[in-house]
Symmetry: C2
Subunit: 607 residues, 2 copies
């Protein structure tokens, strides 16, 4: 039975409906954004299709962050804005998705074609008749862009946009003139499966499949793999660094197998954190360039074979940058999603899934008989602390490291939280959502909303078995994601930037734990710029715990934490540990205190 | 005595100081934005210079709106952002300034030059080594853009940026690599007066000056003026429409003189509202294209000579658009800031100041002996209403029309407020701040903050006579601006988008009147899309009156208004009428009620 038959769809549907059904096939069921003059007929369609929902965000940039957070769980986020005012409001969020390789379908409701061709003056234009300026700007941060104008092939343009966003894990710009939303297409096109790389390389395959590559190509891969293995077998101090490409390309399972197989000391980058089981005996923590803990830095910088798996960022030879690898060029192997770089030679047009699969097949552990020393990655305070101590960043993260449990999804803001979280060893199957490269303040609240929607859907999907596409189900390993706790760490400065999105969480009865680290402003900035007049890092003191009440919450809990004892008490409270209501915990911290990662760097620089 | 001598400046100053002193010379004393990685050394300088202040906004887009609002009072707003995350967050606000002709100096703190030339990977980049992408995007909505790289001429680049923003009344993009902020320049350049058009054509000149144009140019103008006057003298039903170019080019006084001299029925566009005295006997209200009141529309559409003064927007021949003029082409005279269009002929390279000055000189009222009928523009409810009536938009605006007083500055949000305010006749010297063309929801709260800073400065400047540049003082007519009431009208949907900026008002002890029109969502959108599922126009119900308390306000007043009697009572309360604290008045309105302007259009369309 075809998809159309199974769902009893009419022969002809509008392009708006077509988009919604395509998203629904991928289990993308929440769409983010605000209503606007040119997107309203599109929003109407969402309400008409069973199972789809319109989030109705409070703020547009927050909506973009939410689509990003949602996509990091479900591999695609959909954001609808309106021409001009709407699409420009989200650019910073979409640029973040571009930088961090997150798949976003950004749909823009545009003025009617007639207005555009006649250059009529409309609201939300620059007043100069230029209808292309926003498209140009949006295309600069999209892997693909398209305006739907012709009715004959519009369905295939939509398919292409969705496939690009999913496969490239980047934003796509899809403009739809408001008069085109009713264009009719044959629903039969929905019967063609989308061409998604996930389906070719399922993440949770338990056995290595026959690759069946054309012979010439196969030999090319074999030659490359031989080179990589030769380098590895000759090395004395190999290390593995896992970057976020492993998550985005759905091969965390294979990466973990490689770590287990080789037993090399293994690290994650800040962007890759949460992608592999941190309880493996050879998992040694986070490598963050010059901001790494000194023993991590030493191990990676002095390695004679650094294997970077799922590298998302081009290599830059810098000794100062946070993400930089200081090991000698001849000692580095970068395995990018679509290429490999080794000893200054780039091997283009490779697929990371195949490289990794072949590495696993061909690696001969008998050729590496050494054992490797490992680092104790748990961050234990130097002395035993009493309950009546005022809090410090270091102790806070230590307490949380004991509180996290398997399956938690932890969302962290730029600043103190992002630095702090890298020092914690996660329980198995913990997911981490943060934005370490793009680093936009205020990201975490919006992203957390998106994660909440995604987790909420996964729970429902799992319980009522309503998957539309069983191969998606298998590949995304959704079952393990149900019923997770969603935990947000955000500073007071970032909270003030995007706090209205908490109202959307309340509106949908979502139940995150929100830990607000209140250090009276932007403390990391204050710390980095010690000589600055510090008042510019201050923020207005708010009564943070009252915001739930203002936003109309009825079932909620708030706490204020001043001492270590307060924190221990709340984290061990049984009721508190049931994620059945939205919670806000304000943690009071000294304004000049920063996480140990930064402190250690500062001390070593002084030395 | 030179400026440098007078202010006892050292011979050499940094380019950061140079920028601050240039702004101070123009009485631009508040700078908007948030701290970020690459702008911090720049912010430090602001704190070092006496009289300059850093607003410290809560949210970046709101900071852009604030710079816009500030500029609409003081002719230039300065906004500082950081590379990538910061500059992209403000694009929608800056695009609004571009569309509505508002002068903005947008300074972007960029990564150090060394990182850019080596394409090092840094925070806030797209991760692909492209450092120009944000510059390209920003330049698309700027009248001028520049990155400061050479030390020899950097001061002249700064001058050029400021002159362009001021004279063109558009945004300028000025990028400064963080390592260039300490570049040293000779302070003597500050002695050269900036080349500003305001100073050539002071707004409040009481007599027409000798123009002393080159003879050929003078003849060209004379020929044009003769053509215009011939058309006017031959017409039977001439009307004047005043657009915002009159405000932006500082010639409101001349425009008003022309209205008085001709006695033609005169209107303002929504963008031009507040630019001329609405109590002149021949002021006949707001012309807003198809959204005008029927009697206004009839008068303008059927005129045989529509004179549009200070037209900011190109003409578009549309019968449906809000800003469209339906009169026949041969009957329209568009006087743009830099050209005149009449009978399909464009006269380029004219200056509106000269055109208007010559029109005033040459107009012969004896040649126009007809009298003109006028419209009663006051909007009186059809029946006498009792105090216990629940409120409707129409009645609300009627009550406010009696409450406004001379010198008020009224800031209105897109949506109900913007439609409502056009129906009110302003007292003399009322200023109106709104964004009718760009129309970005949430604009008004940020803009109001900027207006508050500007008005606060004008008051101080006036009382301690601290003008640095006396010709600026004369030309901007600042004295009349002191001690004004700042009144904001905002809907609940827009309030949720940018409410955190109220915290910045509280932080600086600013004292606006905030009238929150609570109609449970986006009512104008709900009205325009009657057939839509209306839930997408809903917003989460908030306890709005509690936000002052959350934001740490101590000296404030809040009121909830349900009946007409409530509104009458608060508006007539003597204490309430002293603007000595921040006030929030929540006005409860039916969710499907819209201002009369929209209602009338709807009724006429049904007929």
């Amino acid at each position: 039975m075809t998809y159309v038959q199974h769902h009893k769809l009419p022969d002809q549907i509008t392009i708006a409906e077509y988009i919604c059904y395509r998203l629904k096939q991928l289990n993308i069921k929440t769409i983010f954004g605000l209503p606007g003059e040119f997107n309203m007929p599109l929003l109407d369609k969402i309400y008409e299709i069973d199972g789809m929902r319109w989030a109705g965000n409070a703020n547009e940039l927050n909506a973009a962050y939410a689509a990003d957070g949602y996509s990091r769980i479900k591999w695609l986020g959909c954001l609808i804005t309106t021409f001009g005012v709407g699409e420009l409001s989200v650019l910073n969020g979409v640029a973040g998705s571009y930088a961090e390789h997150v798949g976003i379908l950004h749909i823009i409701g545009m003025p009617p074609t007639s207005a555009q061709t006649k250059q009529l003056l409309l609201h939300h234009t620059l007043g100069n008749g230029d209808y292309n300026v926003f498209y140009r700007m949006g295309s600069d941060i999209a892997c693909h862009s398209r305006i739907l104008n012709d009715s004959e092939f519009c369905y295939s343009h939509v398919d292409k946009c969705i496939e690009m966003a999913w496969n490239e894990q980047r934003p796509v710009y899809l403009g739809i003139p408001v008069n085109r939303i009713q264009m009719v297409v044959s629903s039969s096109h929905l019967n063609r499966p989308l061409n998604l790389n996930t389906l070719r390389y399922p993440n949770d395959s338990n056995s290595l499949t026959d690759l069946k590559l054309p012979k010439e190509l196969d030999m090319k891969y074999d030659e490359l793999i031989d080179n990589i293995l030769k380098k590895i077998y000759l090395s004395e101090k190999p290390v593995i660094v896992i970057d976020a490409g492993i998550i985005r390309h759905h091969i965390t399972k294979m990466a973990e197998d490689f770590i287990k197989l080789t037993k090399f000391p293994s690290f994650v980058t800040p962007m890759g954190k949460g992608s592999v089981n941190e309880n493996l005996p050879n998992f040694d923590g986070v490598f963050a360039g010059s901001l790494s803990r000194p023993n991590v830095k030493e191990l990676v910088d002095n390695s004679d074979c650094v294997i970077v798996l799922g590298c998302l960022l081009p290599e830059f030879n810098t000794t100062t940058f946070h993400f930089g690898y200081r090991a000698k060029t001849k000692n580095k192997i970068f395995i990018y999603p679509k290429s490999v770089k080794m000893k200054n030679i780039t091997y283009p047009d490779t697929k990371i899934e195949i490289v990794l699969e072949k590495l696993l097949l061909k690696y001969d552990s008998k050729k590496v008989l050494r054992t490797f020393s490992h680092i104790d990655t748990i961050n234990v305070p130097r002395q035993t602390l009493s309950d009546n101590q005022l809090l410090k960043q270091e102790w806070v993260w230590h307490e949380f490291s004991k509180w996290f449990k398997p399956e938690d999804i932890i969302v962290t803001e730029v600043g103190s939280s992002a630095f702090g979280i890298t020092q914690i060893k996660f329980p198995p199957r913990t997911l981490s959502i943060s934005q370490p490269l793009w680093g936009s303040s205020g990201f975490s609240i919006g992203a957390c909303l998106g994660v909440l929607f995604a987790a909420n859907e996964l729970k429902k999907e799992s319980s009522c078995n309503r998957y539309e596409n069983s191969s998606i189900e298998e590949s995304t390993n959704l079952k393990s994601l149900q019923d997770r706790r969603i935990i947000l760490f955000v500073g007071d400065g970032a909270f003030q930037i995007s706090m209205q999105e908490i109202s959307t969480m309340i509106r949908w009865n979502l139940t995150p734990y929100i830990f607000l680290l209140n250090n009276a402003g932007f403390s990391v900035d204050r710390f980095i710029n010690k000589k600055s007049n510090s008042s510019k890092f201050d923020v207005q003191p708010w009564k943070y715990l009252d915001v739930f009440n203002i936003f109309g919450a009825t079932n909620y809990e708030t706490r204020k934490i001043v001492t270590l004892g307060d924190l221990r008490e709340v984290l061990s409270d049984e009721d508190f540990n049931i994620a059945n209501k939205i919670r806000l915990v304000e943690i009071i911290l000294p304004s000049t205190d920063v996480p140990p990662a930064l402190l250690e760097k500062w001390i070593s620089e002084r030395a």
